[in-house]
């Protein structure tokens, strides 16, 4: 069996002797005999080489697509080598939440810098140290919107289905209603419907709109903001952080809270996790943020110091009255995002966003030129778009044969495509060519 226990038999004997004990079993005397188990019905332990073989063989059972045109909530971007190597530093990986500030300044500063970058991207005043993922970030954000009897949560039907589902689950917990805002035929949130819904609702707390939305379309955030605020509700916007290299920030557009899935910022697809939920907000909502927050202060010598702050919101102090139950978050993913944003830099990050956009536009053109394929919606999009497709199953199969992961099928006749800076013109042309041939 494998083991990471340094104690040898001799060590154990010496330790027991020093304690005046005869056996380790004595220490377990509190456990009623009748519930103890004899042994576990699992296989024997294995040495490292065999574990490596076993797990690597499972990895081998997955199919890696060399070319990916699928997003729908998880995005394949280039991860610079520096991001991988810097974040692999074993102090970063093996530290825990920086409770002891003096011995954890590095971790604390990295989070403070991350918070700043998230604020810069979103145009907000404050950000937390991360939550579990984009979907739970949305759910937590909706909770932030609640205020003195205002408990009704509005969610646009154009948001990511799993985000909607997660908000519903959390709201099932909170015991508050989730009201859906219908999707318009143009693929965007029906703001007229929202206006009408809110007109009759004095308990409207928050509105969730994702932009670019699930169908890739840029939503009218200023319009939504105006409606929300006119009716005393707050607007929370879900964003793809990469899009903020090109698109106006939610803060500048009037949103009160911006949140999203941070995975595109240097994290691999990894079959869905670990990912990174980020939440940022205007100053007025700062104390409603869930989870850890790092703040700047000074030390006994008057020098700059960083600490976990605003802890009066948190579960370990406030217990059942806390703003959230969050304890462990996604700190190492936040570090990864900060390193990613540093390595890309101001200009490189904007360039990545521009390339995603340009390549998506180019791809959309190539695909819509194929008979049977056409853009479903007219609106502006960032790097995702929906096309008709004569037979999604068939189309995806022919692409898969060539190692290409095609768009995500929305039923049998539509595909949701995603294009990033990683997709080369050659790949795009090849993909379009394969699709075209398949229609012949």
């Amino acid at each position: 069996m494998g083991s990471y226990i340094p104690n040898t038999e001799t060590d154990r004997s010496e330790m027991l002797a020093a304690m005046g004990r005869k056996s380790i079993d004595e220490l377990f005397a509190n456990i009623p005999e009748n519930v103890r188990i004899k042994d576990l019905n699992i296989p024997k332990g294995m040495a490292e080489l065999d574990v490596t073989r076993a797990i690597a063989s499972l990895a081998g059972e997955n199919k890696i697509f060399s070319v990916v045109f699928r997003g729908a909530g998880a995005y394949k971007h280039y991860i610079p080598a520096a991001v991988k190597r810097i974040t692999a530093n074993e102090t970063f990986t093996t530290a825990y939440t920086p409770y002891q500030a003096e011995i954890s300044q590095g971790i604390l500063q990295s989070i403070f810098e991350y918070q700043t970058m998230i604020c810069e991207l979103t145009g907000m005043d404050a950000a937390n140290a991360s939550v579990y993922d984009g979907a739970s970030a949305a759910a937590e954000a909706m909770n932030m919107c609640r205020d003195r009897g205002k408990n009704n949560i509005y969610v646009s039907g154009t948001a990511h289905p799993q985000v909607i589902e997660t908000i519903r689950t959390y709201c099932f917990g909170y015991g508050i209603p989730v009201i859906m805002i219908p999707k318009n035929t143009d693929g965007k949130t029906d703001l007229t419907a929202l206006k009408n819904l809110l007109a009759d609702d004095k308990a409207a707390a928050g509105i969730y709109i994702q932009s670019p939305n699930f169908f890739g379309l840029v939503e009218d955030i200023p319009g939504a903001s105006e409606i929300a605020h006119a009716n005393g509700a707050l607007l929370a916007t879900g964003v793809n952080p990469i899009s903020l290299g090109l698109l106006e920030s939610p803060g500048a557009l009037g949103a009160d809270i911006a949140l999203g899935e941070g995975q595109p910022l240097g994290m691999p697809l990894a079959w869905g996790g670990p990912y990174l939920g980020f939440i940022a907000c205007k100053n007025s909502l700062m104390r409603k943020l869930p989870g850890r927050i790092v703040g700047e202060t000074t030390d006994t010598k008057g020098e700059r110091a960083f600490v976990l702050t605003l802890q009066a919101r948190e579960q370990h102090i406030r217990r059942e009255k806390a703003s959230s139950n969050i304890c462990s978050n996604e700190a190492h993913c936040a570090l990864t995002a900060a390193v990613y944003l540093s390595v890309m830099g101001e200009e490189g990050f904007a360039e990545a966003a521009r390339q995603c956009h340009s390549k998506a536009i180019y791809t959309a053109k190539q695909i819509s030129a194929i008979s049977g394929y056409s853009l479903v919606y007219d609106g502006e999009f960032f790097n995702e778009f929906v096309t008709q497709c004569p037979d999604t199953e068939k189309a995806l199969k022919v692409l898969e044969k060539d190692g290409i992961l095609g768009g995500y099928p929305l039923g049998k006749s539509q595909l949701l495509w995603c294009v990033t800076e990683l997709n080369t013109k050659d790949e795009i042309d090849r993909m379009a060519c394969i699709l075209k041939e398949a229609t012949l």
Binding site: N62, S130, L247, T297, E330
Partner: protein, 471 residues
């Protein structure tokens, strides 16, 4: 030290992306960003050194002894890291067709089969990303369960006052009313107090066992029986599983739902505060309510599910690491962990008890709580002072001021991956600190002296919050 923004200089950067190879598209002016996000501009050397310096101003298990109670800071094996970085895991899209992700699905199956056996549960969800996320998930299972039976009066969750703060917070998030019950003089559940609050409004009990004072509650089967009799469910907070895994199973103790912190008992790295994995297991009768999961965005079936608590299927790469650890330890290794974790805790407790008396008598499990209340009274040296002074002596301090029911508490959890020599060193350090506290209490108030900073002004941080840099 300087922030990365303060090291930024316009024009610097790294050369990551080649020029765009398709025609540049434009976006309507009205949608475009007016001012670029203020990201730092540095070359790779500066970035690399910046983060090297940050790492040096931090402390991880890899740097030394880290007996942070209730956090199980055990060694994070290297092989798990290598395996979690295999492209066959990292380069898989979560919405790939099921037939192309059989390896991922088998990792989940593998981990579930081991963890179900260890916890005595029937089904497992890996969607929760952390312990507290698991608690919320588990309590929503309770809620859905009672709802499914039309038992709408069950609105209260009973929680001992020694519990982790996440317990009441999770209960509140799940829409329950929290009923706190006091612990007995032995730190365990006060059966009378429990009985007094049980009733038709009882949705369930949340308990960690061994509890947060490091003691296994000997009445555990009686406790869970009482709750069941009252029509409630029992929730097992798995934060302390490291003490008992392979010895006794939460399921056999009478728990209906459990969360397991894979980043504690199952050795995945804490990452400076995450990502973790708070896998939730439950008995058969609750399984239909588990979070909806699958390889498609909108999963058909699972009609009774609480829904999902996040997108996709969880912190998968963390599960890969835990699976590798489970395969490594296996049948004999798992109980061996518990035994040595408990041995190490008791050994260290015994070695320092002369000066640092444990808050409760008898052997502890994987951790123990000491109170320096007397030292505070006699020499004005607090748990905080001890913690700060330990930083100067090459080890990470224990958890302090928790559990709340012990005054001036220090909560010490050595874990099984520490050697006798490390424990002997730590004991010497503790004892010498006591001497120092008696002789030069002021030096402990001044600690730490060798850290990156002196003690920070927490009050100022909270009163005048500076949560981001502005240039």
């Amino acid at each position: 030290m300087k922030l990365i923004f303060e090291k930024s200089r316009p024009g610097r950067g790294c050369s990551i992306l080649p020029p765009c190879d398709v025609p540049e598209a434009s976006i309507p002016q009205s949608l475009a960003r007016k001012k670029p996000a203020g990201l730092p501009c540095l070359d790779e050397n500066e970035i690399s050194r910046h983060y090297s310096t940050l790492a040096k101003r931090s402390f991880g298990v890899n740097d030394g002894f880290y007996p942070l109670g209730s956090c199980t800071m055990k060694y994070n094996p290297k092989v798990n890291e290598e395996l979690a970085r295999l492209p066959g895991f990292t380069d898989i899209h979560p919405l790939q067709d099921a037939c192309t992700v059989q390896g991922c699905l088998r990792i989940l199956d593998l981990a579930a089969s081991y963890l179900n056996e260890i916890s005595g549960m029937d089904a497992m969800s890996f969607q929760p990303a952390a312990g507290a996320h698991g608690e919320l998930t588990g309590l929503l299972l309770f809620k859905r369960y009672h709802q499914s039976r039309g038992d709408s009066a069950r609105t209260k969750i009973i929680i001992p006052d020694s519990a982790h703060g996440t317990n009441p917070a999770s209960a509140a998030m799940a829409g329950f009313e929290v009923v706190n019950i006091p612990s007995g003089a032995d730190g365990c559940v006060d059966l009378a107090a429990l009985k007094a609050v049980l009733g038709p409004d009882t949705a369930g009990l949340m308990l960690t066992n061994p509890n947060t004072v490091g003691i296994f509650d000997p009445n555990i089967t009686e406790i869970t029986r009482l709750v069941h009799e009252a029509g409630g469910l029992n929730y097992y907070d798995g934060a302390n599983l490291n003490a008992i895994m392979g010895i006794v199973r939460p399921g056999d103790m009478g728990f209906d739902v459990v969360h397991l912190n894979l980043h504690k008992s199952f050795s995945t790295p804490h990452g400076g505060g995450g990502p973790g994995s708070g896998a939730v297991g439950c008995e058969k009768n609750l399984a239909p309510f588990l979070p909806r999961s699958g390889t498609e965005l909108e999963v058909a079936g699972q009609a009774q599910s609480i829904g999902r608590v996040r997108a996709f299927n969880g912190n998968f790469l963390i599960v890969v690491r835990a699976a590798a650890y489970l395969l490594t330890l296996g049948k004999e290794g798992i109980p061996d962990v518990a035994k040595n974790a408990v041995l190490n805790a008791n050994y260290l407790m015994e070695k320092i008890r002369g000066k640092f008396p444990p808050a409760y008598e008898g052997p502890c499990m994987h951790e123990f709580v000491i109170s320096v209340e007397k030292l505070k009274e006699t020499h004005g040296v607090s748990a905080l002072d001890i913690a700060k002074a330990l930083q100067d002596r090459g080890m990470h301090p224990p958890t302090i001021y928790f559990p709340l029911i012990v005054h001036e508490a220090l909560m010490v959890e050595p874990t099984e991956t520490e050697s006798k020599e490390t424990l002997d060193d730590a004991a010497r350090t503790f004892l010498s600190l006591f001497d120092e506290a008696e002789k030069h209490p002021e030096s402990l108030h001044a600690a730490p002296m060798n850290s990156a900073i002196g003690r920070p002004d927490d009050v100022k941080a909270a009163r005048q919050p500076v949560l981001r840099f502005r240039c």
